[in-house]
Amino acid sequence: MKFKLENTEETLDGEIVKSLGNNEFIVKTKGKEHHLRILNMTHEKIEFMLDNIYHVAKYVENSTSKITLVVDGVKITFNKRPDFDKIVYKNSGVESGVDSQVYLKSQIPGRIVSINVSVGDKVNKGDVVCVLESMKMQVSIKSHKDGVIKSLKIKQGAPVAKNDVLAEIE
């Protein structure tokens, strides 16, 4: 299985190498083998020892696109499709090459999670302008060109529809 760890740049890769019986397994994560012993497991929760360290994981969400779980109190979201970001990046206009285009538009509907620039800021092509949550995933919307933020059409927490203008960049 291969996941992208949300909010970080990491992509994680793992597999069950073998079952030892008695609820014990050898698992491989990031290329390294670990011993795992299940203490308790239900649909929502798993308690286990991983290489002599206890962990508890609770499942908050398991959708087609992502898994959110809380491990030892830390919320972790795995994106199941590690390349989703790239698709959005492409759609958001960066790859279109139309440098003369002033408007940065959203190719997907969503909700603005954070705004990373202010009016007057100089941005380079590929810089993150804002982050929006869409299909329960957080995606960064990046500038499609070098330029200066002329105006921002978005508000934190507010929804945006597909093709809404997010910013003017000149």
Partner: protein, 497 residues
């Protein structure tokens, strides 16, 4: 002697008051709105009465209904907690009229504390320094310019009708002041029919330091040390501690005596708090009296050993404060973190819902005041404070270490919380060396650091999360393949442990 107290409040503070009632053998009466039928304070009180709909105006702010309930169930006193009716002078009067012992100051004293200008006057007479500025309302721009000239720019132009940061304008010179005065005066007249502006010196990089006070009906008054409450967001306190890293015993004695003068000046009776601003040069300016028990009273309890709710009840009973100023010594250091249901990254927007699971920390020096239990609800109708986590240590560093561990142990499932923010703050070198101010979060870009900390944490738990997901999806896959048979097999395996 008080035998039965109706608590005109909810949440953790209602529970806090119940605990002292229990210890003293006093009956406690809870009141609850529709929203709170399943709340912990209802379950813990000796008796509980429904007082109205979820909206505070129809329940916890409904004076008549609360007083009626108190009278009909035979309560002889009312504890208002904080918020809601606690600083409502009319409510204090209504209690008195109904022969209910209101555990707080008189309505008259409360009115004096609540009126910015009257209070400032009283302080001037008592020689308690307030923030430099106009002695009262300024009607004409020439007067404002005079005052600004005397106290020095920059100054703040404020409206007495404002509050919580609203209606405040920062001006740096004469010209700005003239423009601002015109605008503000116009706004005020439009909204309230008259202009009521005043001028105050703008104070940069300030600390919020307050003194716990108690004054009895016999005129005895003491201060119970200071609390440093500089870590704030949007003018609301997040972290409080006692003692303050910048208050030595000499300062404590001096400013404490000012605080005692302040409550005496307004004939305040009960436990209360005098709030001060402290500048970098060490000057203290009185800002206001909080005429009630404070959210952050536990830090004072931990360093003084006192039960402040008990002290309130004793004073309401007409007893004299059973100790003198010289008997009080700061013992160790206490820190409180207000565990709020809020999303730090959505501008601290409230987060509400059902708490499906909660782990409350414990251990040497750890105290938690909370209404949470698994299955409880954080309601959108009331404030976002779910719990207060307080740690005590022999010194600041021990207290801080214990807080860090307790924050890590505090697990709340179902809402966003301010816990991760506090972990980042408690870990920062600026907090450790005590470089505090009300703009701490902005000054040290704490939210950016928090973002980094969260990334780091997620990255550290990546292996465990992945391993869990591998084994768990195997489990789910097998369950789908042969639901019943598998679950039996798994159960059998698990039962072996």
């Amino acid at each position: 002697m008080i035998k039965k107290i109706l608590i005109a409040n909810r949440g953790e503070i209602a529970i806090r008051v119940i605990k002292t009632c229990n210890a003293l053998g006093i009956k406690s009466v809870a009141v609850y709105s529709d929203e709170d039928l399943n709340s912990k304070h209802v379950k813990m009180a000796s008796e509980a009465y429904h007082i109205g709909a979820a909206s505070p105006a129809q329940s916890y702010l409904n004076m008549e209904k609360i007083v009626e309930t108190a009278v009909s169930c035979g309560s002889d006193a009312i504890h208002p907690g904080y918020g809601f009716l606690s600083e409502n002078a009319d409510f204090a009067d209504l209690c008195e009229k109904n022969k209910l012992n209101f555990i707080g100051p008189s309505g008259e004293s409360m009115r004096l504390c609540g009126d910015k200008m009257l209070c400032k006057d009283a302080m001037a007479k008592a020689k308690v320094p307030t923030v430099p500025g106009s002695p009262g309302i300024v009607e004409e721009v020439e007067k404002a310019l005079d005052i600004a000239h005397t106290i020095g720019y920059p100054v703040l132009l404020k409206s007495v009708f404002g509050g919580g940061g609203r209606g405040i304008r920062l001006v740096h010179n004469e010209q700005e002041l003239k423009q601002a005065f015109e605008l503000a005066s116009g706004e005020s007249k439009a909204a309230f029919g008259k202009s009521a502006l005043f001028v105050e010196k703008f104070l940069p990089k300030i600390r919020h330091i307050e003194f716990q006070l108690a004054r009895d009906k016999h005129g005895n008054a003491v201060h119970i040390f200071e609390r440093e409450c500089s870590i704030q967001r949007r003018h609301q306190k997040l972290i409080e501690m006692s003692p303050s890293p910048v208050v030595d015993q000499k300062t404590r004695d001096e400013v404490g005596q000012l605080a005692v003068k302040a409550v005496t000046a307004v004939d305040y009776v009960n436990a209360g708090t005098a709030e001060f601003l402290r500048l970098d040069d060490g000057a203290f300016y009185f800002i206001e009296i909080n005429a009630r028990l404070q959210v952050e009273h536990p830090v004072t309890e931990l360093v003084s050993g006192l039960d402040l709710v008990k002290l309130q009840i004793d004073i309401a009973n007409g007893e004299e404060i059973p100790f003198k100023q010289k008997d009080l010594k700061v013992n160790g250091c206490a820190i409180e973190c207000r565990i709020n249901a809020e999303d730090t990254f959505l501008d601290f927007a409230p987060s509400t819902g059902r708490i499906s699971d909660v782990n409350i920390p414990s251990g040497p020096g750890v105290r938690v005041d909370t209404y949470l239990y698994p299955g409880s609800t954080v309601s959108p109708y009331y404030d976002s404070l779910m719990a207060k986590l307080i740690t005590w240590g022999q010194n600041f560093e021990e207290s801080r270490q214990r807080m860090q561990i307790a924050l890590s142990d505090f697990y709340i499932e179902g809402v966003e919380t301010s816990i991760p923010l506090y972990k980042t703050i408690l870990d920062s070198k600026e907090f450790i060396k005590g470089d505090l101010s009300t703009d701490f979060l902005d000054r040290f870009k704490i939210l950016d650091r928090l973002r980094d900390d969260l990334k780091k944490e997620a990255s550290q738990k990546g292996d465990a999360a992945l391993a869990a997901t591998l084994v768990h999806s195997e489990f789910l896959k097998n369950r789908i393949r042969s639901n019943k048979e598998q679950s039996v097999r798994w159960k059998t395996q698990l039962d072996r442990h």
